[in-house]
């Protein structure tokens, strides 16, 4: 007795689909409904308010500020993160003794839990007793207050996020670099190309599929997973300057118990991410060009 072949894929997908439905689709559907209600903290009373939650969001400085912060956060962490990762990946692509150790060390931040990474950075940057603050005092004779002043707090959180993501990016870039045939570089050398020419005419174009994938992955991870570092290092402060949209959703929902407002914020977040996913599928293949 055997199932018809065409059922097998569905059968194999069923467990994943079940989990996604329970943990993602259903809550997303719920939050869409909840965004139209005002709900008491214990959920014992709720009132339909239509789009009032959304209207209030756009009138509240806090939410608009979080959108602005998220924009800066994403552009800087993804931009600098990827450039730095590519640079490190090229260094790690060399055949030097002990390269395995370097690769492991570079990858290791990714294996650290984001909350632990946040604690680590908060400790390093702590005023007076932190190592980074100490080194700044010795070398530059200044005492920057990393976690309590704007824009240093935002910079500190972005550094922690970039540091955390670098391992992931480097591994992908490294795989991409190793798949580029050596003969291209040899041919270029014969034609008299210098290393800058090779970087811009061979390496970067041939890495574009991976770069595009990493951009999309990094955008979603810096929007969604930046939470732990922010919570541990600054709690969104000073004065909400490190509150990203994701952190704002958390504050509204789990700090202030405004479930309606938190839901409407997450609906907006879902729409934005849906837009990026659409871009990925629409232009994903076309945007990548090979020379």
């Amino acid at each position: 007795m055997s199932l018809p072949r065409k059922w097998i894929p569905y059968l194999l997908l069923a467990p994943t689909f079940f989990i996604i439905t329970v943990f993602i689709y259903y809550p997303a559907y719920q939050s869409f409904f909840m965004s139209l209600y005002k709900v008491s903290p214990f959920g014992t009373s709720s009132r339909f308010v239509g789009f009032d939650n959304f209207l209030q969001l756009f009138q509240s400085g806090r939410f608009l500020q979080s959108v602005y912060t998220t924009l800066i956060f994403v552009v800087v962490t993804v931009g600098i993160g990827l450039v730095l990762s590519l640079f490190l990946a090229m260094l790690l692509n060399d055949k030097i003794p002990g390269i395995g150790i370097f690769r492991t060390l570079i990858f290791s931040p990714y294996a650290v839990s984001p909350a632990v990474a946040g604690v680590l950075w908060a400790f390093l940057l702590s005023p007076l007793s932190g190592y980074v603050s100490y080194l700044f005092l010795i070398f530059f004779k200044v005492q920057p207050q990393w976690l309590t002043t704007y824009p240093l707090a935002l910079i500190a959180v972005m550094i922690a996020t970039i540091w955390q993501n670098i391992g992931f990016n480097v591994i992908f870039f490294l795989a991409g670099l190793q798949s580029i045939p050596k003969s291209y570089y040899e041919a270029a050398t014969i034609d008299g190309a210098n290393s800058v020419d090779k970087l811009f005419n061979i390496t970067i174009p041939l890495l574009s599929p991976i770069t595009f994938f990493l951009i999309i992955m990094n955008i979603s991870s810096s929007v969604f997973y930046s939470f732990a570092a922010i919570d541990v290092m600054t709690e969104g402060g000073p004065s909400n300057t490190t509150t990203t949209m994701m952190y704002e959703v958390y504050r509204e929902g789990f700090f202030y118990f405004n479930n309606g407002a938190a839901s409407s914020e997450s609906v907006i977040l879902i729409l934005i991410m849906a837009f990026f996913t659409y871009l990925y599928f629409k232009f994903g293949q076309k945007a990548v060009h090979y020379q």
Binding site: K38, V39, S40, P41, F42, G43, T44, S45, R47, S60, A122, S126, P127, L128, S129, L137, K141, V142, Q143, Q145, L147, T148, T149, Y150, M233, T234, E235, G237, P238, S239, N240, R251, F254, F255, Y256, F257, N258
Partner: protein, 439 residues
């Protein structure tokens, strides 16, 4: 006939199981990991007296997380019997409709004397004369100071500052710079976010000033914030003067950073909760002597006092009279003079039972540990009234953020104290309207 007998037999069996079976009560606490053992030890003493009731104490994350988890647990139909909820969660719990007000149990139990609970703690957790939760780990903020650094700076460690001006002057004397002008030791440190917003509330009470209208929400639901007042400006200026003249360091969000600056002797004075006295004394160890002083007070302003902070134990309605009775017996045990003495000595939270304070005094405990007496005296000498009863509203968590932001805006010189407080008050009014629209 035999069927009827069978039914009766089964009923009797079930009933006897219900009434004799040992039960396990669950307590969720959010005061800190180290307190789980202390509380569990107390509960084990209760079990020794009541062998049928076992108690399981669980640390459920900080106060915020504990409230969040309680909400999920109630909605999921599996709540704990007793839960520790922090001061500003009080109104949310009162409005929740899922708790049994302690007053209901007290009214049914003539053996319990509510007047053993010190009045300040009783007032904080009461509304319209009805006590909602059992005060348990009550604290207020104090200033910890490093007596050795006081001596080094030529200050008398036995004569710490009393007024704002003296405090600011001493903080400057306690600030040490190296040859190139960088500060290596600050006079004062504090945590921002939740902590500084709490200190603000307390310093308003110190000046006997109100935080919310309707007598801090005690004579009706508060719908307007009133902290944008000369008293409020004085508090902001107090912190800001020291931040701007370089004698205070903003240690960042939360409690830990400020505590570590103080314990590593990088800051000579620290504002923090009395709940950590034991931790501070142990942390300082033999490195330096810790002193504890009252909150300073602006001269020329009538004295108010401090508000009961910390948390209380709430009884969740489990719709099971046997569990509820056991939970009530446990609460009475935890409120008893002996339990409160043990708890206070192990932590630094002050006893909320008057007999416990009296006993500790007779035993010479406060003579040997004057640090612990400061917290008790500071509270008991407070002027009774709405300002020192503390503000009551479900929007308090939001409002605390607005107040903490006001401090940040002043420290960064983006706003004057007046502007920052006005902005915070406008935000608070919106938050109050939003919360009140639910009820």
């Amino acid at each position: 006939m035999s069927r009827k007998l069978l039914v009766i037999a089964v009923l009797v069996m079930v009933a006897s199981m219900i009434f004799a079976a040992p039960i396990t009560l669950y307590i969720w606490q959010g005061a800190g990991t180290t307190f789980t053992k202390t509380l569990q030890d107390l509960c084990n003493q209760f079990t020794a007296l009541n062998p049928n009731v076992k108690v399981d104490v669980l640390y459920t994350g900080n106060y915020h997380d504990t409230l969040t988890k309680t909400i999920s647990a109630v909605q999921g139909g599996n709540p704990p019997d007793l839960v520790m909820i922090y001061d500003v969660g009080t109104q949310v719990m009162m409005d929740s409709g899922v708790v049994i007000p302690i007053q209901d149990m007290i009214d049914k139990d003539p053996s319990f004397d509510i007047n053993t609970i010190i009045p300040a703690a009783r007032n904080y957790y009461s509304y319209n004369g009805k006590l909602y939760s059992m005060p348990f780990n009550s604290s207020n903020p104090v200033i910890y100071y490093n007596k050795n650094l006081f001596e080094k700076a030529g200050l008398n460690p036995n004569d710490p500052p009393i007024t704002f001006d003296q405090f600011i002057a001493d903080a400057q004397k306690l600030t040490v710079k190296d040859s190139s002008g960088n500060t290596v030791q600050y006079g004062f440190t504090f945590g921002t976010g939740e902590p500084i917003a709490w200190f603000f509330e307390q310093f308003l009470a110190v000046q006997n000033a109100l935080y919310l209208n309707n007598n801090n929400g005690r004579t009706g639901r508060a719908d307007k914030a009133v902290f944008d007042s000369p008293a409020g400006v004085r508090v902001l200026d107090f912190f800001n003067t020291m931040v701007q003249n370089g004698s205070a360091i903003n240690a960042g969000a939360g409690w830990d950073n400020a505590e570590s600056l103080f314990l590593s002797q990088r800051a000579a004075m620290l504002i923090d909760t009395t709940g950590d006295i034991t931790m501070m004394l142990q942390g300082a160890g033999s490195n330096f002597k810790v002193g504890v002083m009252f909150l300073p007070h602006p001269s020329g302003v009538p004295y108010g006092g401090v508000i009961v902070g910390g948390a209380s134990l709430w009884m969740i309605n489990t719709h099971n009279t046997q569990r509820e009775q056991a939970a009530w017996d446990l609460l009475k045990f935890l409120e008893s003079a002996d339990s409160q003495s043990q708890w206070s000595a192990a932590t630094g939270y002050f006893p909320i039972n008057r007999n416990s304070i009296i006993k500790l005094l007779y035993q010479g405990y406060y003579a040997q540990n004057p640090e612990f007496l400061v917290a008790v005296l500071q509270l008991l000498m407070s002027t009774p009234g709405p300002a020192t009863s503390g503000a009551l509203s479900g929007a308090m968590p939001d409002i605390r953020t607005a107040v903490s932001d006001a401090f940040s805006n002043v420290f960064s010189k983006a706003m004057t104290a007046e502007q920052a407080l006005q902005q915070a008050q406008n935000q608070a009014n919106k938050d109050l309207a939003n919360y009140n629209s639910l009820y």
